[in-house]
């Protein structure tokens, strides 16, 4: 074979070909990999620039410096204990349990998270719980480390003791407004759990009280307002990413005893350990009933069922993003289908809230798009995660602790980009996961449900933070540094009225209408809406059957 004349002296052409043929293959594969990733990246950047959605956290609340604020707690039940931990006070029992749990499961960071929580510079000076066992548990744990906590026999004694600057109310629903009103009128700051009120009348009265006492900082416990993905969603909606949103679906999906309010009944519950009359208040006067005391959410007399307990979360989440206010019309259906255990609030509830004049903005001819329906669909008999979906002409948003936006295949706004193949309607055009670098140890199905709704925790700078902590901190900052809480009396008013309209629609079976000009729920002549809302006989037929 002829010898090559060039560099590779002594090698045949065949040798050189076979020796170096791999090199162009390397070049080709490398170039292909480079080009495809580069192209994808440019497309992503192009889309992100076009959408221009900003994932920004809310401004941090102000400093916690100065004299410690003196806090009083009314109601040291399940929620009361959670709120106290967010405030920086955990019971000895909880600390022991968490220490054991984190020893068994290294992914369980609840104790470490609690210990790392910022000190809010408060003193827990007063507690009121009408069940001795709970009150004593609080006193045992909170009279330590320089904190002096005193028990008060009634909420009025606590409010007027002169020992508290602010109170947290975590009682059954029928006590929210009377206690909040008494505190506001005594000049004591208030953080009240949702729903803000139990009746329509209370909602107006509480709003009047708060308006007449502008020095009092009033907050409603919708802690998801601190969730970062919702603030990002707000930015996306503001930039008209979805076009005109005509339908929103929100859901509650639970299938366990805890989720159905079948809480544990304490073995020491009796008339000698519980101040039963203080529990009843204005509720129907019935003999002592431990189940009513511990599982009060199951009766209209003390709780508000799905519409007050859980719709309020979903409604306020959407109201936080869209600020659409109280719906013009509400219709509802449902019943007690899974838990026929003597309760009279429904365990399946489907509520349609109509906003005929509302628009998030559109992309089509002016006047073509207007009006929106918000659906709240709840079951306590199945926990398939249906999520929350905002459906616009141009796009769909899946909203949870993470956020995904898909372009609609028939969108006007994205028509060209879809035709050019730059947007695939099956692939999210925007995706936001603040926990991208974190893995959470979620303990139960109900905990997961709450986490997805932004109710357990959210993220700041990629770090997991308890959203109740942020919400309480915001309230304390408003007390110390001024400003308005994100969920104040006006947001609470919207939430409470909507919940009550939902309850009424379910009970009456009629479309309930809101008269926005006069701020009134429209009643038929002679109809007492509050009496209907509180009516405890609805659903009782099932028990007797």
């Amino acid at each position: 074979m002829a010898t090559d004349k060039n560099l590779f002296k002594g090698f045949s052409r065949r040798d050189i070909l076979k020796g170096l043929a791999g090199i162009p293959v390397v070049g080709a594969v490398w170039a292909a990999g480079y080009n495809s990733t580069k192209k994808n990246k440019l497309e992503r950047e192009y889309l992100l620039e076009k959408l221009n959605i900003k994932a920004t956290p809310p401004p941090a609340s102000g400093p916690m410096s100065g004299e410690p604020l003196r806090i009083g707690l009314i109601g040291f039940g399940i929620r009361g204990e959670q709120l106290m931990r967010s405030l920086g006070f955990a019971t000895n029992e909880w600390l022991e349990e968490m220490a054991k749990s984190s020893a068994e499961n290294p992914n369980d960071n609840r104790l470490a998270d609690f210990k790392a929580q910022e000190n809010l510079n408060v003193k827990l000076t007063a507690i009121c719980d009408i069940f001795d066992v709970r009150a004593e548990k609080a006193l045992r744990s909170f009279n330590a480390a320089g904190n002096t906590c005193k028990r008060y026999g009634s909420y009025l004694e606590l409010i007027n003791s002169g020992e508290v600057d602010a109170i947290i109310i975590a009682t059954p629903d029928h006590w929210h407004a009377p206690m909040a009103k008494a505190a506001v009128e005594a000049g004591v700051h208030v953080y009240v759990e949702k729903p803000m009120t139990h009746t329509i009348q209370e909602t107006y009265e509480l709003r009047d009280s708060v308006r007449k006492n502008p020095g009092v900082v009033f907050a409603v416990g919708h802690q998801h307002r601190q969730t970062q993905s919702f603030l990002t969603a707000m930015d996306a909606i503001g930039k008209n990413t979805l076009g005109h949103v005509s339908l929103i679906m929100t859901t509650t999906n639970r299938n366990d005893d805890n989720g159905a309010w079948q809480y544990e009944i304490h073995p020491e519950a009796s008339t000698s350990t519980i101040d039963w009359n203080a529990f009843l208040g204005t509720a129907p006067q019935i003999p002592f009933n431990a189940e009513h005391f511990f599982r009060w959410r199951k009766w209209w007399a003390y709780g508000s069922g799905l519409s007050g307990d859980l719709l309020t979360h979903d409604y306020d989440r959407i109201n936080c993003i869209l600020k659409m206010g109280i719906p013009k019309y509400i219709t509802a259906s449902g019943g007690i289908y899974t838990h026929r255990d003597g309760r009279n609030v429904p365990d399946v509830m489907h509520i349609n809230m109509d906003f005929p004049e509302y628009s998030t903005g559109g992309s089509q001819a002016e006047g073509k798009e207007k009006g929106m329906t918000l659906v709240y669909s709840a079951t306590l008999g199945n926990q398939f995660d249906r999520g929350t979906v905002l459906m616009g002409h141009d796009g769909t948003m899946e909203l949870g602790n993470t956020l995904k936006i898909y372009a609609d295949p028939r969108s006007t706004k994205y028509k060209d980009l879809i035709q050019e193949g730059r947007i695939d309607p099956k692939v999210p055009i925007y995706q936001y996961d603040p926990s991208a670098n974190g893995v959470d140890a979620v303990t139960s199905a109900t905990a997961k449900y709450f986490a997805d709704k932004g109710l357990l925790w959210t993220y700041r700078d990629g770090k997991r933070v308890d959203s109740t902590f942020l919400h309480i901190r915001e309230w304390l900052s408003c007390i110390r540094n001024g400003g308005d809480p994100s969920c104040g009396i006006n947001e609470g008013f919207d939430e409470a009225i909507t919940a009550h309209m939902g309850g009424l629609a379910y009970k009456i079976g009629r479309r309930i209408e809101w008269d926005a000009a006069n701020e009134k729920i429209i009643a038929l002549p002679g109809e007492d809406l509050d009496a209907i809302l509180l009516d405890n006989s609805v659903g009782m037929a099932i028990v007797n059957a």
């Binding site: 590779f8 002594g10 090698f11 040798d15 050189i16 076979k18 020796g19 170096l20 043929a21 791999g22 090199i23 293959v25 390397v26 594969v29 490398w30 292909a32 990999g33 480079y34 495809s36 990733t37 580069k38 994808n40 990246k41 670098n437 893995v439």
Partner: protein, 162 residues
Amino acid sequence: MIQPTRFSTWQTFGLVLMRLLIGWHFLYEGVTKLYSPSWTAKGYLMSATYMQSFFQWMAGDSMISIIDTLNIGALMVVGVCLIIGFKTRFASVIGIGLLLFYFLAHPPFPGFPQGVTEGSYWMINKNLIEAAALLVVFLFPTSTSFGLERLFAKKEIQSSTT
């Protein structure tokens, strides 16, 4: 080094083809990860279904960036070596090591969660088959027939004979 076995032309062709295809696969995986700055093995490691503590240690904050860099580097080195036919035995060993890691993190053993796969597997999956193919590449080197080492091998023979 094992004396190169004499293969028929078609046998050599088959072995070279297998080496090239595996190299191609490794290199492309490495290059796409190299140019995707947000890529990380964290999710794959954190969701490991076997030897979890070891893989989760790899996915830890202090380790993950080293692991990611090593993975990309190793994928590309193995790919380039197999394609150009240089140090293919060394590349095969590294490649087998990588594939066994991928295999062990999510093995298709009965009773283990399988997640999303494009096929059905029992005990054996494509990672393990590719590792076995690399074992063949290791045992039957072809880089002196097709690859950079052909030039070195020839030179050695020439220098020793002259």
